[in-house]
Symmetry: C2
Subunit: 197 residues, 2 copies
Amino acid sequence: MNHPEPIARLIDELQRLPGIGRKGAQRLAFHILRTPREEADRLVEAVRDVKDRITYCSVCNNVTDVDPCALCNGDRDRRIICVVEEPPNVMAIERGGEFKGAYHVLMGALSPLQGVGPDDLKIRSLLARVEAGGVEEVILATNPNVEGEATAIYLARLLKPLGVRVTRIAMGVPVGSDLEYADEVTMHKAMEGRREV
Amino acid sequence: MNHPEPIARLIDELQRLPGIGRKGAQRLAFHILRTPREEADRLVEAVRDVKDRITYCSVCNNVTDVDPCALCNGDRDRRIICVVEEPPNVMAIERGGEFKGAYHVLMGALSPLQGVGPDDLKIRSLLARVEAGGVEEVILATNPNVEGEATAIYLARLLKPLGVRVTRIAMGVPVGSDLEYADEVTMHKAMEGRREV
């Protein structure tokens, strides 16, 4: 005997989400079943809204509901650009509270094994921003793992000839992990201890 | 700096789900953001469908998309009724594969501390099913914790005067846990070793 079809399908869909296994998906499905209609509707609307209203900033590629994004439009120091791999990394650095400059989201990291080359990342637009002038420093805040490190070295080689200072965040962030999970203090220290590449 | 409003709202909604904390909700929200539109739509439809199409069986109170449910309509031994607290518990017992009778879902357990009394549970309809005749045994498969045990004792007192055999599943299921998480073998043993109350 199986779950009724709509429940089985919801369990299947929930299982596709990262970090959710079979039992977790079943638990969530039955929770949604018990939950008041309005609450389920709010969840559904929130998912739809994110797909409908969120785009990528035409300047820095961060996720946003206005273009350019609040950070690119805001009162930030445009002489410093902090380069990260993914949109959630911007939030991780903002939580550190140390950094007051601008951002550039690469939308990934170089990974020959996964077939991600320079043309798959937002590198050209980063170079264009630096070439347009007014930028004094580029902080490479890619993840402290193999791909992030390789990406940082690759970018440093391209950026230095443009006459800009290129730095890498300090390895205060635990090696082998993901920026998204760094705590505020570690992030702050990493930003403070950045060194010349 | 905060997340753009639609992302912040999705994170809020996801955090309401059981077992999902702030970081997990953020991870899920950014996953949904990256995911293809069709996949997000399938998730949304699955949630909507569960709310639209799933009801409770008018006989046993289990979740179903047809009424009476597949189990009440199916080729099951109606002389034995297995009483459980919640709909997912039916699935846990079906996984054991031992039981071929009918079910009755109470929709909870007695809990004076949480203000759940006999009138809040589907006890009257259980008694009506037994009084209608043809039932030889009622297996009490409420959870092996304080509330489930109290509910079993309470039901046994009401059912025995009706001239029906009343049994309780064996404590093969680990005490203090929830039926939903029992493995097949434990569930099978528990069903096999049921004893007279």
